[in-house]
């Protein structure tokens, strides 16, 4: 609870529901990471609430990707531990799925095989995995593109394939490392809206890394602000954006704009 107290919550005081101990899908405990001579992360403590979308935001090189990959089990921490569903992480697991910044699609495989690839690796039968893959291909808006190859798709469409692949393995926690950084602004907005919708439909825990303050405020339930290297948690913000409103209304909403502005001010303290 002490962590909650010094957390600057910008918005309404927490209601009675939030007072109950939140159910953490991922718990990060005292994570430190030092590459050979670079200290990337120092003492990260963080609970990532189940069913919510949490965003890691911070200056370039502050260790966002490092933290995400430690949680994914792709790289080892120097000290500390990560618990997913209460169990310590010792490598990648079926309850976590990763969406890569550069898509990481198999160039020699069709959209169908790429989306079904996680299931293929798990030994699912062809009919079973294709049925699932077809569902998620439609869910990310790529129906009709099943037999195309990645090089026949635009950047935005490729990332949808990456997203569908992560959804298809039915993990509890979805991790996305700057998934929209390689797509244009229009596609990006559409994506953000899709992400919000997906979060509501899929009831999964999303852990999201971005450079963009607007994007973070727009899509997140919770924003974790990291300081410059070595990365530490400097602030946790709950934007409380009402997603029932239309995207345009939200982007003009004074509350939304204030939140963006105050994060800016916070970041400026240590950018300068």
């Amino acid at each position: 609870m002490t962590a909650m107290a010094d957390t600057a919550t910008l918005t309404r005081p927490a209601g009675p529901a939030a007072a109950a101990k939140p159910d953490a899908a991922v718990s990060v405990r005292g994570i430190c990471k030092t590459y050979t001579d670079v200290e990337a992360l120092r003492g990260i403590d963080l609970d990532i609430e189940r069913g919510k979308l949490t965003t890691l935001l911070g200056p370039s090189g502050c260790g966002k990707t490092t933290l995400l990959k430690i949680i994914a089990g792709l790289i080892d921490q120097t000290s500390g531990e990560v618990l997913v569903n209460g169990r310590a992480v010792r490598g990648p697991g079926p309850e976590r799925a990763f969406v890569f910044q550069d898509f990481a699609l198999l160039p020699w495989a069709t959209v169908m095989r790429n989306v079904a690839f996680g299931l293929e690796l798990r030994g699912a039968s062809k009919t079973e995995r294709e049925e699932k893959a077809r569902h998620y291909i439609a869910e990310v808006g790529l129906a009709g593109f099943e037999d195309k190859y990645p090089h026949e798709l635009s950047g935005g469409m490729r990332q949808r394939v990456g997203l569908a692949r992560a959804l298809a393995v039915d993990a509890d926690v979805l991790m996305l490392d700057e998934p929209f950084s390689a797509v244009d602004e229009q596609t990006r907005r559409k994506f953000q809206e899709d992400l919000i919708r997906l979060r509501e439909v899929e009831k999964k825990t999303f852990l999201f890394v971005t450079h963009s303050i607007e994007e973070a405020v727009y899509v997140s339930d919770r924003i974790v602000l990291l300081s410059r290297r070595p990365g530490r948690i400097s602030e946790i913000i709950e934007p409380k954006v009402d997603h029932r409103a239309s995207p345009d209304e939200i982007r003009r909403d004074p509350h939304y704009l204030d939140t963006v502005e105050s994060i800016w001010q916070g970041l400026r303290n240590y950018v300068e």
Binding site: K69, P92, A104, P107, W108, L121
Partner: protein, 250 residues
């Protein structure tokens, strides 16, 4: 090629040379150059003989065995070098040395090791082809995007799946390029090996015809070898083109 504004196809220029050769041959001025028609006739007679068929069979067998070994060892060697820094440091020096070394000089040593026979020819083919295959495979493995491997690990690929479904496929364009160059070097290997051993396959025929100054037969098998090497290289090239579409998209 164009002459006075006329497009002349490749085959036509070849024809000009053949006609020229025929004329020189007919004059009988140069003993080394018999008429082309004579060479063709000799070739047609030759392919019907048991000697030629046996020689061709022996040559193909040595070549096939040597290439199979070169691919079977060169590709894993390249993968090992691409994946493991210590192995790369340890082996890299030798592979780089051998890939450009004048290997013909080593064939006499091979003869001491393997005796005067097929084994030496197979070893020569292997020695000529294996290094470039290993080097190109290594380059391909180093080119595999890091995120593709991380993708495999995060979706729980077993080591066999990681190599069989991701890494080897991603490196395939370079591996095939290495194999194509290896196949061509292997032809050199089989010819040089057989010439030095000189009791086997085409080497024995070359030995026989040059010693008895039978220039018609000598040229006939020379042309056959040239044609075979060109055919082989263009077959692999056509195969490479077919998978290039994804290499470019990587």
């Amino acid at each position: 090629m164009t002459i006075a504004g006329w497009r002349v196809p490749m085959m036509a220029s070849l024809l000009v040379w053949l006609v020229l050769w025929e004329i020189v041959g007919r004059t009988g001025a140069v003993f080394l150059i018999p008429p082309v028609t004579g060479i063709v006739e000799a070739g047609i007679r030759l392919v019907q003989t048991g000697t030629w068929q046996q020689a061709t069979f022996d040559t193909l067998r040595s070549y096939g065995l040597g290439m199979a070994l070169a691919i079977g060892i060169g590709v894993p060697l390249g993968v090992l070098m691409g994946r493991s820094k210590p192995a790369d440091k340890l082996l890299g020096m030798w592979v780089n040395l051998f890939v450009s070394a004048p290997l013909s000089a080593l064939v006499p040593v091979l003869m001491i090791l393997f005796g005067i026979g097929e084994k030496t020819v197979v070893a020569t083919v292997f020695l000529f082809a294996v290094w470039i295959i290993a080097l190109d495979t290594r380059a391909g493995i180093l080119h595999v995007p890091k995120s593709l491997e991380e993708m495999g690990r995060s979706y729980l690929a077993s080591p066999v799946q990681l190599y069989g479904k991701i890494i080897l496929w991603a490196a395939l364009p370079e591996i095939l390029a290495g194999i194509r160059l290896g196949l061509i070097r292997g032809v050199k290997g089989v010819v040089i090996g057989q010439l030095l051993v000189s009791i086997l396959g085409y080497g024995a025929l070359f030995e026989l015809y040059s010693r008895s100054f039978d220039m018609e037969h000598f040229w006939a098998i020379t042309f056959m070898l040239f044609a075979a090497a060109m055919l082989l290289s263009s077959i692999v090239e056509a195969f490479e083109k077919r998978i290039e579409y994804y290499a470019g998209a990587r």
